[in-house]
């Protein structure tokens, strides 16, 4: 009976994390969205065979998790669900790319394994940054930030409507799915006719609901602007945040810090 109910619970818990009140939460959403975008672009722009160059980038999600009071294990479980898909596509790299690039003692590591590990690390970084962004900003905050950054207003209204009604419709869909499961002894039986009937009824209810919402909009004089209590302003803290992280990402991209560190340590040891 997990299915849709489990997904909805997951959705709600991530959404609840955004209601926290830490210094990171209080930052203007535009700063966080821009920092995440710069992060993703820098990570993705790393070359195919760069592995240790990606490690300094872990600082961003780690710091955001600790400063934003996000439960690390919860996030780790969500990331662990996504990783297999990256592995499935990446696992052809070791098979196809066998040229040895690195020698560790007597062992030769082929380029394929390095690029495969790079893909997995990249996946962890990008996925964690997206989840952290939602956890510290919240979906309405992200929509407001994107709208201020140039997203067209009809699309922003669409996103906020969607977010508002996902909870309602997912619960209705969950009720139907649970009812079907109870009547078919745990299988998703009934065939295509029952499915068509279920989803068709959901669609009809959705259509009727849209008409009621439209009348409510007219009655309240809704003009497309969602009014919120938490006002945001883009001040010194946000500028420092973006500049600081931006400089760090660009530096980490251009200067191979782990290589330098390793050379330093092995130089001392010799």
């Amino acid at each position: 009976m997990a299915g849709i109910d489990g997904t909805l619970l997951d959705f709600k818990s991530l959404d609840l994390l955004a209601d926290g009140d830490t210094a990171i939460h209080r930052l203007d959403p535009r700063a966080k969205v821009l920092a995440t975008l710069i992060f993703v672009i820098c990570v993705v722009s790393c070359g195919k065979y760069e592995l240790s160059a990606l490690f300094p980038f872990f600082l961003f999600p780690v710091l955001m998790i600790t400063l934003g009071n996000i439960p690390a294990l919860y996030l780790a479980k969500k990331i662990a669900v996504i990783i297999p898909f990256a592995v499935v596509v990446g696992m052809f790299n070791p098979l196809l790319d066998r040229q040895v690039m690195l020698h560790v003692g007597a062992l030769g590591i082929s380029g394929g394994w390095i690029s495969f590990a790079s893909i997995v690390v990249r996946a962890v970084l990008t996925v964690s940054s997206a989840l952290v962004l939602v956890a510290v900003t919240g979906f309405p905050g992200i929509c407001a930030a994107l709208e201020r950054l140039g997203m067209p207003q009809p699309f922003a209204v669409q996103l906020l409507f969607l977010y508002r009604y996902i909870f309602v419709l997912a619960e209705e869909g969950g009720q139907m799915a649970r009812a079907r499961e109870l009547r078919t002894f745990g299988t998703r039986g009934g065939g295509i006719r029952a499915y068509g009937s279920m989803i068709g009824h959901l669609l009809l209810r959705t259509w009727m609901r849209a008409e009621r919402i439209h009348m409510a909009m007219l009655a309240r004089g809704f003009s497309g602007v969602f009014h919120t209590r938490r006002h945001s302003c883009f001040g010194l803290r946000e500028i420092v945040f973006i500049l600081g992280w931006g400089l760090f990402f660009i530096t980490a991209r251009l200067i191979p810090v782990p290589h330098l560190l390793g050379a330093l340590v092995t130089g001392i040891l010799q």
């Binding site: 596509v89 052809f92 790299n93 996925v127 977010y163 295509i192 989803i199």
Partner: protein
């Protein structure tokens, strides 16, 4: 499973972001201009419906696995391409943010593969061609099945191309395509069957919804003025700017002739009709060889030559357009809508 950031390069990701972002802006403008106020809550709620419906599976009888609705085609049929594109994009964005189902940079790719292709390629070019304005049952079913299969072949092809062009994964195009396309053939059939089931149910329960949705809705003809202005701008830009970069090397024909005879142009006979028409041409051509008449004046130098080419490019563009409009106006049959 949507496309992930880990397999994408910034160039491909950025390009697809630009394409999808531009389309979102265009569709937003179209939806805002459309006078149907009811569309706004309908889009939002249908997006939530799609989200919920994608989580409900049905078992496929022969195989024992289960499938679920994709929804791009269904939304295009119910809402029309522009509103459907916005709705699908919003659902994909929520999935990327909350479920990490597709990366942030890969949003552009995913919105293109799962939104643009069904709404702007499959819907007008496949579905509408087959179904027509008021289809009866069999035609509708056929249109939906074919559109679903085509849409779910083009989408994964997009994924394959984007991955191969990014170069992070070592999979070659042929191997990846061979992996993706056959599976998505089956998924396309499943999608078609699901969409048919839903559409036929709704058609039985509330036929006016389907009739309203399938009713002859014009594809949104752009006003003639916009088309003409954009063509004029493009012609001016090409003629004015780009022609300055035109290569001075001989084209294929001139090169071949030079190779055979030793000169780039053949001299025609000195008498007869040929000579008369050549003299006439020399007189009437006011921009011979695409530059100013006294091109022999080397004092002006190369800058003068390229300026001559640009001016001739602009003049040529304007003249071509004038001829085109004239013939268009002369040949136009006035429709009464």
């Amino acid at each position: 499973m949507h496309m992930a950031d880990a397999l994408l390069s910034p160039a491909v990701g950025g390009t697809m972001w630009a394409v999808s972002g531009g389309t979102i802006a265009y569709c937003s403008a179209k939806v805002r201009k459309g006078l149907d106020d009811r569309k706004v809550p309908l889009m939002g709620v249908l997006g939530a419906f799609l989200f919920a419906a994608q989580m409900i599976n049905f078992t496929i009888p022969a195989t024992g696995s289960s499938g679920h609705l994709g929804g791009g085609l269904l939304l295009s049929i119910l809402l029309g391409p522009y509103a459907a594109f916005l709705t699908i994009s919003s659902v994909i964005m929520v999935q990327a943010l909350f479920f990490a189902d597709g990366g942030l940079l890969a949003l552009g790719c995913n919105i293109f593969n799962m939104g643009f292709i069904p709404a702007f390629l499959v819907y007008p070019l496949v579905y509408k061609r087959i179904a027509g304005p008021a289809p009866e049952r069999t035609r509708l079913v056929a249109a939906i099945m074919i559109s679903a299969i085509v849409g779910l072949q083009l989408g994964p092809l997009g994924v394959v191309l984007e991955t191969v062009f990014s170069g992070i994964s070592a999979l070659p195009f042929s191997a990846f395509a061979l992996l993706m396309q056959p599976i998505h053939l089956a998924i396309g059939v499943v999608e078609g069957v699901a969409t048919v089931a839903i559409v036929t149910f709704v058609h039985k329960a509330r036929p006016e919804i389907i009739r309203e949705a399938l009713g002859a809705r014009p594809m949104g003809f752009r006003p003639l003025r916009t088309v003409l202005v954009s063509f004029l701008a493009a012609a001016l830009l090409t003629g004015g700017l780009l022609s300055g970069f035109a290569s001075k090397n001989p084209d294929g024909l001139e090169w071949a002739i030079a190779g055979v005879t030793g000169a780039e142009m053949l001299k025609g006979p000195e008498q007869g009709l040929h000579a008369v028409t050549t003299a006439l041409q020399k007189r009437t051509a006011f921009l011979p060889d695409y530059s100013f008449k006294n091109a022999g004046n080397r004092a002006i130098g190369n800058a003068g030559n390229s300026l001559g080419t640009s001016v001739s490019g602009i003049v040529g563009g304007l003249m071509t357009l004038a001829i085109v409009f004239l013939s268009g106006f002369l040949l136009k049959r006035r429709d009464i809508r």
